[in-house]
Amino acid sequence: MDFDLDPKEFEDTARAVMEACAEAAPPARARLLAEAGLIGVAAPETIGGLGLPLDFAVPVVAAAGEGLLGFPLMEAMLVARALAEFDAAEAEAVITGETTVTIAWQGVAEDGVVGAAPMGETVDRVVIFRADGSAVLARIGATIAPRRGATLDIETPEARFVLTGQLDGIELSVDAVETLCSDAMVLRSAFVRGSAEKCLALAVEYAQDRSQFGKPLSANQVIRHRLSRDKLATETMRNALARALTEVPGGDVHLAREACWLATARAGIAVAESAIQVFGGMGFTWEVPLHRHLRQMRTQAQAGGVAEKTEALGQRLIGASTNAWYGEIANVV
């Protein structure tokens, strides 16, 4: 494994591929991504991946968010990594783009219906979670039928699946699913960061180009400060992501990942909303891509369970008192 590589070097490659994908029909995108080696960036070399750490997937997924990629790339990356130990052949098929996969992020098999599966209508297989924490990669078909539901995201329309029969497929262990979900928080944050940074870049460009009352919009202090706050937000995402990928003495990587995702999800939406405001009347037209970014970030927030995870974190924080200095005064019975 060549650790001398720098994750940033993947950025330009990834961007170029995303641009190619934007020109291509949806089915061709898997091939384009696979050919550039992007699906397998962080998958083991044994199954045809590049065997790099998750850090290297970050700029790739960020470029997908930035480029409004219409393909469940993050899901493919996660499934390939998870499959490596359970079905190497299938994992390789995902990396080569031969098999397309998605993940039903909402609900568990036991509900009889699972949802929030990007492009669930057009891919080959879907990961369905189980109540016990394990999951199955199942073939989409008659007993696992995709239905187009309410979908805010236009790039990768979400589907739900009504489960009417036995759930057959490749089993993923509880541990594998746990890693998958933890890594998903990182990659989702990267996706949203890419999308939010694009919104900010568009807003900055517009504010400098558009003249009103004889001066550029960017001469207005409120516009300047708004954009500066948005910049603070995207830099916060960057630093939180760096932290979510590093072990620090005294640190808690799980909390760091959770905090990164929860903050990034909300901030990304706010940056898109803010950019729309900067664009004024242009901001709420279909033609300016800001609404597409807003839609995909809102969809990510939902699929990534931001509201639920924030509530759970709050409960966890008030549910115990383990601080060395204050643990002793807590005596709720």
């Binding site: 550029p216 003495p249 709050g314 008192s321 643990g327 005064i329």
Partner: protein, 394 residues
Amino acid sequence: MTTQERIERSYEPGAYAAQARGWIETNLTDALRTDRATQEASLAEKIAFEAAQHEAGLVGITWPVEYGGHGLGLREHLEANREIGLSPMPNAVNSIGKELAGPIIMTVGRDDQKRDLLPKILKMENIWCQGFSEPGAGSDLVALRTRAEKTADGWKVNGQKIWTSGASKSQYCLLLARTGSADDRHKGLMLFAVPMESPGIDVREIVSIDGARSFCEVFFNNVMVAEENMLGAPDEGWAAASRVLSIERATNRMYRSWRFESEIDHLVAACRSDNRTYQILKGYSAEIAQARIAVENLKGHVETMVADLLNGQQIGPRGSLPKLYWSEAHQRWAQMAYEVTTRFPLDGGQALTDARARFETIYLASRAETIYAGTTEIQLDIISKRILNLKKAA
């Protein structure tokens, strides 16, 4: 800390933190703890404690050994600050000395100045105050009016400073004065190390919003300052100070995010001491989560900054990011925490009394956090101008 020239020693990751933690647990007495409603250590006790902190390796961590420091790296500095933040330690009495005067002296001072002044800061022999702001000249130094006039006996200083934290207990003032005329704007500014016992210096205390007497006005009336007390050449001192300020904005009080974390833990623990109060706390779990998320984000800013500095990168205007993020997030937290404490039952125990007193102080003090060290508006101006490069004209 960014003035560090070389790292002389280093520790295994985590080892320095453990050492710091052990020392704090042993030496932080109840009288010194800031999370108790009732007592308050005397200034002398706080000074002694701060000197002991230095001996124990909690301050002056990155300063060279020959100037009284410990010759360690930013990594150890970060580890120690983590432990300082996590504990209810009092704020430093000599923060201006350690965070501002020291680094500036290290950058522009003569070697004799360094050998004389620097160790005394760490040993708490010299407490410093900052003489930058004036009435009518806060962020805007063009309006600076305090003048230093060259005479045969040295410099003669006349003027008035404000917001001079801790002037009444200081031995030295880091004075910024104008040697030219006011028309020179940013030019002709000179930095001095002025002994506070110099004849002609008058100090008047200003009571701040939380009732503490931490700020002062300082009047200079024909104060004579020796030639050797210049810090750097004319303009050089101030240029260095500006650079130091932007780096310090990023790296000083590095303990803040962990102190913030510890405040959350304190409030939760206090509320958990009483069942009725715990029920109230449950209504704030979303806000607690948001505060904790902000703490993690803030750590992200701080740790990235340290990593970048260790990689030899410049911080520049990016120093505004953690200050802005921290001050606003902490202010929101302080508002919420104070609201919770006002709902504590009247017959609650000592834990609730302690927490209420502490969070009232934190709330009031937090109003200043978006003002001092560059207001929020100034930070946003810096970001828009120097990071986003937003143009003001077509």
